[in-house]
Amino acid sequence: MTTTGTPSPGATRVGPARRPASAPLRVLTVVALVAGVIAIALIPLSATPYTNYQLSVVAAFAVAILGLNIVSGYAGQISLGQSAFMGLGAYAAAFGVTHGWPVVASFLLAALLPAVVGLVVAIPAVRLRGNALATVTIILPILAVPLAKRFSDITGGSEGLNVDWMHAPAGVGLDDDQWRYYVVVAIAAVLFLLGRNIVVGRIGRAFAVVRTNEAVASAMGISAHRYKVLAFTIASFYGGAAGFLYVAVVQFASPDLPNFLVAINMLAALVIGGFASLWGSVVAGFFYVYVPVFAGAVDPSRTNIFYGAALLLVLFIVPGGVSGGVSRLVRLLVGRLFGRRPPARDDDALTDPQPITSTQQDTAVPDASPDGLRSSVGPRKEVP
């Protein structure tokens, strides 16, 4: 018997569509969002240059992890190679800078070259499932490091490439670290907005169906293969863009970036931050940058113990990671305060348990009527 098994109740959720948030929750979200934007805009003016530098690196890694999230969290295809795309983007950006390209051209090269490589790798690779895809994607960072060292005319070999750019324009009145912070965070914000639109829109719903059940996807006329390639390509694009941001902050591209352990730790940070959650990618960015800093204050070798233990903790008791846990806590508190029932638990160890509404459950199982099919992939307005 080689059945894939009938989907568990939790797996019948189709689409990241959430229960419409309650009014107090919506107000809370808007307030938090506005406060967050103001804080993000004001922090660099008073923080030390080193803090600005760290926060900018956080933004770069958050973008890379968002890309990983799109392919792994939303589309359900585990990639252990995201650092290779980030490294490629970093080298491409550094190449553009050292050859005197305009910044926009460097950005396009840094984002599009990895996207093309990702597309070429994905077309054959996504034919493999779960385990096998992860195995193949490990190849990318393992090959990227010796390749980067070999083509030392372009990459600077083991030494890497130093660049000197992204200085604050005269007359703006900002220091370099502040200017870089604003540029990097602004680009990251645009990429996050773009990512949000991808994952909540038609493509995101298709990703969710592909992730939950490929057979259902093809029954709905969604080509699992095509959407997996798309997810992988988007992830590579984000990886490359993140490489650009990294070089903008760090002014350096080296073989330390497209490393196997970097890719592994990005995946770990993503799961800890929250699978299939935009906030999760932000939390993961902070986690990726700050855990080594804090752990390193005690002892460098403690970083991995902390990472591994936190990852197991998430898998065992906090499905959805930090962002899932916090959002569940908020929902619980809001529910207590305003008299709503707390959401039910779900058994997937990775994704944030969203309560299943009756309409979602009905539309998740494809029935013969074309309306039933359309309602779960098409515009959600049609759901009664």
């Binding site: 080689t2 493999l128 195995t135 010796p146 591994g308």
Partner: protein, 293 residues
């Protein structure tokens, strides 16, 4: 020609080490349907145990034997405490669980033994033998011999013993095995235990060549993964044959193809794995998997 034969024997010896770890991966995959990305670091931990015993004055052979025995227990404990919770989970959860183990064991090993490289004594006497004018290193020949012995023992275990029959039954169909009264949980523990023991052996074989540090098995794991995938994940013989093919081909390619050289020779098995997965996803020796809905 003599040089080529030496390269082939060295390749077979390297392939035997990849093969031991690949066998471990296959055992775990057959038992629990997971690719254990932490298998390499579990092997590193075992090798450190052997090193500690040896430094305390035990002969190296006994130290390795004890380390293998301890690893059997640790493998079973890992299955029981961690993996059991995630059996039947989605593949991406399974990948993340073993990645978590990888990172955690890396941290623990680093905390106990540090990140500096340490020399590890060879299990075999150094020296050479001359066969028909070709000078061959004794450790290489012995390594190949050890792997062949392991394969024979495993085949005997799987084909001639009741435990082996039960292990095969559980790998084939856990539900029916449970209905026939087999203790599936305990058998899965046995699978993980055997895998950990094999990993310990692989670690003790490679450590004298490359020095022992927590990252020692990272590359070996990649070769082993390639071998396991090439051989078709559920085929122990396939994994070993593929590991030998990989060991020999990368050694020859690294030596005789100028562009590849020593730094890019790891690309040989990886590209081979990629091509095989695309043309024959079930591997060279694996069974084709039918997915029913």
């Amino acid at each position: 020609m003599q040089h080529a034969i030496q390269q082939i024997v060295d390749g077979l010896a390297a392939g035997s080490i990849y093969g031991a770890l690949a066998l471990a991966l296959v055992l775990v995959y057959r038992a629990t349907g997971m690719i254990n990305f932490a298998q390499g670091l579990m092997a590193v931990a075992s090798t450190y145990i052997a090193l500690t015993l040896w430094q305390a004055g035990s002969p190296i052979g006994a130290a390795v034997a004890v380390a293998i025995a301890v690893s059997l227990v640790l493998g079973a404990v890992t299955e029981r405490l961690v993996i059991r919770r995630f059996e039947g989970a989605s593949p991406h959860t399974a990948v993340v669980v073993t990645v978590a183990l990888l990172i955690l064991i890396n941290g623990i090993v680093g905390a106990i033994w540090g990140y500096n490289s340490q020399p590890f004594p060879s299990l075999f006497p150094t020296g050479t033998v001359t066969v028909g004018g070709v000078v061959l290193a004794i450790p290489s020949l012995a390594t190949i011999g050890v792997l062949i012995a392991v394969v024979v023992l495993l085949q005997l275990l799987f084909l001639k013993t009741k435990l082996g029959l039960a292990l095969r039954a559980v790998a084939n169909n856990p539900e029916s095995s449970a209905l026939s009264g087999l203790n599936v949980g305990r058998l899965l523990m046995v699978g993980w235990a055997l895998a950990a023991g094999l990993g310990a052996l692989a670690g003790a074989l490679i450590a004298p060549k490359v020095y022992l540090d927590p990252g020692m098995m990272d590359t070996i794991l990649i070769y082993a993964l390639a071998a396991a995938v090439l051989g078709g994940l559920d085929s122990p013989m396939g994994a070993v044959v593929a590991a030998w093919i990989i060991g020999v081909s990368e050694n020859l390619a690294g030596t005789y193809i100028g562009f590849i050289g020593n730094d890019l020779k790891i690309g040989v098995p990886l590209v081979a794995m990629f091509v095989i997965l695309l043309t024959r996803p079930q591997g060279l020796f694996g069974r084709k998997e039918a997915v029913r809905v």
